[in-house]
């Protein structure tokens, strides 16, 4: 399957949706299976290229380790930031429980 030639399945789409944290409806899964297959089919020309020995480009600028001076400077106002949160409490973001209470 690693050569990218196998067609994408409904199960693949459901798996990827879990990875991407998307609660898709059945209709969305069906539509996306077809859409992704079409795009991946178009990308088959790239997947089929022999590119051994060609280094990858992750980024167009040859910048490395851009550091700033370790100096105190103003940062965002906490109240202003928390005012944009869906739920905030005691100066923090409030979220549903993360650990199972049992």
């Amino acid at each position: 399957m690693t050569d990218g030639s196998a067609p994408i399945t409904r199960a693949d789409v459901e798996h990827v949706a879990r990875l991407a944290r998307l609660a898709l409806t059945d209709a969305e899964v069906e539509r996306l299976t077809a859409d992704l297959a079409a795009v991946l089919d178009h990308a088959a020309d790239v997947a089929a290229l022999d590119l051994d020995g060609v280094p990858p480009t992750a980024h167009p600028l040859p910048l490395r380790n851009v550091l700033r001076d370790d100096a105190v400077r103003p940062s965002l106002d906490r109240d202003e930031v928390l005012a944009a949160a869906p739920v905030a409490e005691d100066g923090r973001f409030r979220v549903p429980r993360i650990l199972d209470p049992s």
Binding site: A20, L51, P55, T57, A84, P86
Partner: protein, 474 residues
């Protein structure tokens, strides 16, 4: 017509007030915005206050700066402090950022007047501005047609005369393609030339902010204001760019211009568009440039590589919309359920498609076949351009294969929509600069844009070519 340059000169000299200029533009917005829908938000009151402040500076004898009193429209993926910034997505509806983007700060510091936030394809993903959660923008030249995208609102705002200048962002053509379809100038600067601090990220190795304008001189005016290093963006280039204004009219005599075979003959290029590019090449020859055909073979893989790389980066960037720190939250019993429900309700179909595609391309077992290969293709494209730029100072191609298409024409076929960007994508993959200049008309009398491409940091040459084309466009 260099509207912005003339406005700034008149306001600085005290011949016109910024307030008068603004009211004229607000009146045009009142007259046509209901049919065009260029804006998500018109900031009339805030703009009046800003214009009055510019006038007060002039009255006190101070110089407000090179954009004095010029209304500027901002794509709604540029953060504006205390002013809603939506990315045309339900997931950010109502969000008010706690800071301004660097480009916004620079526009305001130069005396510019922010007129409003313009519509876009949700999170800048699209080529028609139909993927907006708040409804499509229409092309002011023909409102039955799309303005292009994703910066369709900014292109339409300039084309409709709502603002002489606008800012957009370009990840695979999102400034140049709508500029072409609306008949305006649109520039994608070299990667790193303009700070992206405060630009909502889509694909971080490709995104770049740039100007829309009614003329080449006006585009240079705005780019000169926004370009340059920014300590708040670690990917901004440390080089201070040369000012574009002074050499704009130096002409093209002696310049070597290459016509890119693979893009002139790309899939779906309309004959009228191909013809416009030929006429542009002839016009440059008449102005003293030499023009030859050139092959940049690997650009034919650009579209495929882009639609693996950009979604992969997007899937990572958009992980931050999790219902915790800003924007929409749809409740769930635990965090994972809350995240997933929020994202399903908050994102539109194209954004989900890209997140899914990108997550798939990065997932175990497929990484090498898709994302890894695409990154290697990116190297090939950069090498091919480097070879071309050994022989040429600038390259020429169509901007968009077609003129503006009717609303809905490609809405159900993602791949057909993606092909709109076939000529613009290679520049983003290489990190170079390119721009679209209106050059005549094509099918149904609609505007055609010609793309001028240059090597990284060669904007001064690009603007000379653009200016020469503008002077010879009929």
């Amino acid at each position: 017509m260099s509207a912005a340059t003339e406005i700034a000169a008149a306001v600085r000299a005290g011949r016109r007030t910024a307030r008068d200029v603004l009211e004229e533009h607000l009146a045009r917005i009142d007259a046509r915005e209901s049919e065009v829908h260029a804006f998500n938000l018109v900031l009339a009151d805030e703009a009046r206050a800003a214009a009055d402040a510019v006038d007060a500076l002039v009255a006190s004898g101070a110089d407000p700066g090179p954009l004095a009193g010029v209304p500027v429209a901002l794509k709604d993926n540029l953060c504006t402090r205390g002013v809603p910034t939506t990315c045309s997505s339900r997931i950010l509806a109502g969000w008010r950022p706690p800071y301004d983007a660097t480009v916004v700060q620079r526009v305001v510091a130069a005396g510019g007047v922010v007129a409003g936030k313009t519509n876009l394809d949700e999170f800048a993903m699209g080529s028609s501005t139909e993927n907006s959660a708040f409804g499509p923008t229409r092309n002011p030249r023909d409102v039955s047609r799309v303005p292009g995208g994703s910066s369709g609102g900014s292109a339409a705002a300039v084309a409709a005369g709502f603002a002489p200048l606008a800012l957009g962002s370009d990840t695979g053509g999102s400034i140049r393609q709508p500029a072409a379809l609306c008949g305006t100038v649109g520039v994608k600067p070299t990667y790193g030339a303009v700070s992206r601090y405060g630009l909502v990220a889509f694909a971080s190795s490709l995104d770049q902010i740039g100007p829309f304008a009614g003329s080449v001189a006006d585009a240079a005016l705005l780019l000169d204001v926004i370009a340059g290093p920014d300590p708040l963006d670690s990917t901004s280039s440390p080089r201070v760019p040369a000012a574009l204004g002074p050499g704009l009219r130096d002409g093209v005599a002696g310049l070597r211009v290459g016509l890119i075979d693979e893009l002139v003959d790309a899939e779906g290029v309309e004959p009228e568009v191909r013809d416009a590019v030929s006429r542009a090449a002839a016009a440059l020859e008449a102005a003293g440039a030499t023009v030859e055909r050139v092959s940049v073979p690997s650009v034919v893989y650009g579209l495929s590589a882009y639609y693996l790389i950009a979604p992969a980066e997007a899937s990572s960037n958009l992980a931050r919309y999790d219902g915790v720190r800003y924007g929409l939250r749809v409740d769930g019993d635990d965090v994972a359920t809350m995240n997933a429900r929020t994202r399903d309700v908050g994102f539109g179909p194209e954004v989900k498609r890209r997140i899914m595609l990108g997550t798939y391309a990065l997932s175990a077992g497929y990484y090498d076949a898709y994302y890894g290969k695409a990154q290697r293709v990116r190297t090939l494209i950069t090498r091919d351009f480097a070879r071309a730029y050994e022989r040429f100072d600038a390259l020429l191609s169509p901007t968009s294969p077609t003129v503006a298409f009717p609303l809905g024409a490609k809405a159900d076929n993602p791949l057909a929509m993606y092909l709109s960007d076939v000529c613009t994508i290679p520049t983003n993959l290489a990190g170079h600069a390119a721009a679209s200049v209106p050059f005549g008309t094509g099918r149904d009398g609609l505007p055609v844009g010609v793309q001028v491409l240059v090597d990284a940091e060669q904007e001064p040459t690009m603007f000379r070519v653009m200016q020469a084309l503008e002077e010879r466009a009929s």
